[in-house]
Symmetry: D2
Subunit: 338 residues, 4 copies
């Protein structure tokens, strides 16, 4: 077998052809920043997806989208409840702290990087309501989570109710939002504003995009200061049309859902091969966590499969929109043969 079969990360995948075509189609003179024809269509396109008027801003990274959302929801003297395994805590080099001006993250526990209302309520109960402590201002969840689990509409709504009762803003890191929607086969609105979500970092890059993520505010008023923050953070690209065009291309004919279904389907085949004994967690999106000994991991790699170890005795397999069915079948077979 020639080249390695890589199951490292959906970040490693290429952009899908429609995205490259969209870049080419946008490659003509237009107004700079977000004054161009593509950027001007963004609000309407996202409003259609979410079945209400939203305000949408393109940015280049999920880190920027997450951090801008959190800065809109939490003051410097506030805190953001999130899971201990959240991307915003572990993989953004303190970007939330930078953008918020030094807010704290309050870290909670829960299987598969999911937070439950009871857990959050217990966390909130530890905070004294005085000026000596930062006061909780927002909740941030990741859907699908960093461990490939999803929050259902009902679970999300339960968190939204808690947020409303406690006066917390509600943010969703949706780097793999498409995979969650594809898995749940629900309306995007059910996982967001109808469940009380204020802001969504709607990810496209892991799902076949090249360099465009979309920050969606379900209350457009929340977005006002964010336009300044985006510019101030250096995220208002001068040729913004190329970002808007990517997003529009992936919304067109629900390509974002088709791509996510492909990735989820590949993961499901791997999970089925792994079986209950090997699966660390149910594989609900495009990430599969399996138990493998060091020898087994080495054996898989010797067959050309690349992936990350994920703690002792575990491996993470990530599929993407373009996972080669032959590679997936080969890996499934190799896992079965362990």
């Amino acid at each position: 077998m020639g080249a390695a079969m890589r199951f490292f990360s959906d970040n490693a995948a290429p952009a899908c052809p429609e995205v490259l075509e969209a870049l080419a189609a946008a490659n003509r003179m237009d107004t700079a920043y977000d004054g161009d024809a593509w950027s001007k269509r963004l609000n309407a396109a996202l409003s259609a997806v979410f079945e209400r008027d939203v305000e949408a801003l393109w940015v280049s990274t999920g880190t920027a989208a997450n951090s801008l959302a959190l800065a809109a929801l939490c003051p410097p003297h506030g805190s953001i409840v999130c899971h201990r395994d959240a991307h915003i805590q572990n993989d953004e080099c303190g970007a939330p702290e930078f953008y918020t001006g030094g807010a704290k993250l309050l870290l909670g526990e829960g299987e598969g990087a999911k937070l439950a209302p009871d857990t959050i309520a217990a966390m909130l109960a530890t905070v004294r309501n005085d000026v000596h402590q930062v006061q909780p201002a927002a909740l941030s969840i990741t859907n699908a989570t960093e461990y490939g689990r999803v929050y259902t509409p009902a679970e999300t709504a339960a968190l939204g109710d808690l947020c409303k009762a406690r006066g917390l803003g509600f943010d969703v890191d949706g780097a793999r939002f498409a995979n969650a929607v594809a898995r749940l086969d629900c309306a995007p609105a059910e996982l967001t504003w109808r469940a009380g979500v204020d802001a969504l970092s709607f990810g496209f890059v892991k799902n076949g995009g090249l360099s465009a993520e979309c920050l969606v505010f379900f209350d457009p008023a929340l977005a006002a200061a964010t336009h300044y923050r985006r510019k101030r953070a250096g995220h208002l690209l001068s040729k913004g049309r190329y970002l808007a065009a990517q997003i529009l291309a992936m919304l067109d004919k629900d390509l974002w859902l088709a791509n996510a279904r492909a990735a989820n389907g590949a993961a499901a085949r791997l999970a089925q091969a792994a079986g209950d004994d090997r699966l660390v967690l149910p594989a609900e999106a495009n990430e599969v966590f399996i138990r493998v000994s060091a020898e087994e991991a080495a054996a898989l790699r010797a067959q050309g499969f690349d992936f990350y170890d994920w703690g002792p005795g575990e491996a993470r397999l990530v599929t993407s929109w373009d996972s080669d069915p032959d590679h997936v079948d080969a890996l499934a077979a190799a896992i079965r043969a362990l």
Copy 2:
């Protein structure tokens, strides 16, 4: 003529074909962030351009590149000397303050947005050396300037000498660095490290790029913390190869210089048409500032030429790598006919 002939901004121009081809060529699976093959070639490619070992980081915007450079050169309790008309002061919504943690910009005067050593020395002389005042830590110039002027190697070196004598870091906002090099026909090293420059925001987007700028540190040690700051600011794209590929494509066979020469040449034709009486400033790069009455401006617009008014009685004409020679000739003729 159907469509408008636009001389608004080089930001409005499309990306050049080689850049789109590079995106297509990079469109295959590779390691995420800056671990890919293209990103790994960046330091060497820029080191070749500058004839010394440099550390180069891609980012998506000039604002990010400038602000990261300034954060590397100036502490929160420091100040940055720049021209009153500098982009970092007027067009970045306070990004330098955001990235530095609240440094001040000290604003100086000078024709064509150029600062002279005497001006800077006089500015520095107003600062008391005590803890009640932020202490000057860096100088930032723009080359070519916001008014289409260039600093020569000798002028740059004189500023570099001042920086060295005063212990200031030296940053160049090179959003149109290519236009300056093309104009001066000098080695890039002459306008940078040989003249004492520490950091350069090397612009590609205005010059035919799509979404990639390059931050260059001439002392690689200066870059160490910047890798963290870039991530923390949300500027470490997960599919960074598409940024590196753009830059590499534009460095290849000196496309960056060819593009800049095209833009400069178009500007020169407009400047020649304007003549000394109409020219507000010498047109040394790709921006031409001319004196026009409101009626004259209206007359030009009526003929299909779009551009910005620039203060009362003045207009700014910007050319780009792809300025249509017919449009340029038409505008030159229209200016002559005023």
Copy 3:
């Protein structure tokens, strides 16, 4: 003559006896932070001074008071209009930038460090209303100014009208507010909320206090976040009662006004001695700026008078609540004799 006669700064003066007595009287166990009996009286005491319900917070320095006020009025992506000679620009090492999270100061001109509405309107007119520029959010004036001038109630109200019309918050740095009120013999309300002022840094230290300044919000709602910001900045002293006690002692029987009148009166005697020819500016508070040659300044110093040179050919003489009448008379005579 033995010890030098010092006219350097009102910061150098001792605390007045009533303040020390108040410290002694407060020297018993009480609740920490601002839960003590003295701190709880602060709002009422200041509300009486200002003839309306205000929210008052003690802090240790004018820099903290000013910066907290500005942080309440200006977001990180905003700007604060102030005079080029303002203390917040020149003497606080960037504290406003630190507390606001990186806002900009827009610097205006005006004799005696005073800003006029026309000047401010012209400054505002230079700001484009787009996301590329920080947007003006507040005006900050100093009354009495850094050059010993005062804003009258009418002048203040004119600025307040401008702020209201333009949506700007209105802050007064009142390090020498007492001197302004003493000079104008007006109700404190006339120089503050009746004139549209939102926040006042009400200075006590220069006027006979030891370590207590008072930040006053005329709309208590504005103060809500400031309680957190004060703690977060390390300005919530654990034994806050000693700060509250100082302020209460100086408000009692209008000691603050008596002290300010003493300082103003001493300055007036010096100004009279200087005469129109030597006076750089009218001496309306407790600072006198006079023209003296280097030889004259040396001659004064040879007689035991200490003071700061203030630019070439000028000297600053500052009086305080306890300026020794004999020293003042001696300096007045020495100036006359130059």
Copy 4:
């Protein structure tokens, strides 16, 4: 019995007479800020205490001292290892985040709010050495801890060795450093620089001071930027001599140790009365944590003793330099009688 007998907090105690006398003695004109005679003696006085040249800065609060120390040791993209119960995490409203520009606190566990080297090593092992995660830059411990425990010289040195091996700065929150030294009867140097400590927030306010804490840098070079940060944070008081005078008065004839011994002794009597069954933790400084039922706590309060509940079934009793021996004896008797 008339007034309540309060065991709430050492913050509630008055200042000791020597401190008030020192304020009176300093109450004459002198140079402002830290140019006065008292401030100039500070470095020498602290250098004598610590048996080496140190750089000492007065500030008004422990929060300011801690935060300035951390800002000197940790960049915005770094993290600070501390105990989950640390004051810097729970009681400073995010001041460390504010001063550092958004660093993270990494929270560890350990009985009595003490961290052990193994715990810290395990925490460090969870951090990937890449730009996606903030990198540990400093360790901060509290001695005596928030739970009245002390780190011995040997324990401190073991942590210092770890810091040195891992390239971490080492900060001690010494709000009750005096109590630790008094308990251990060791040289202050043994608990600080000889054990590898870089910065100490040396507390005086809880120990009989009025408003002065002392930030000590054992490497004076570390202090350079802190002078600017102190000013920028509004902590450079204009009449700084009153802070320096307090510290000098408490260092004189080792008053700080005498005061701490008094407080520790009172706590020891309470701890003895409580006995092993009631003591939650050994009482090594001036805080005693005891197990009491709600009924028992109510019974104590009915007898005039005030204190905080500390979690379910526990109470915190804090003594201070001036704890009334009769009150202490009464409380000891009451505890025995429960």
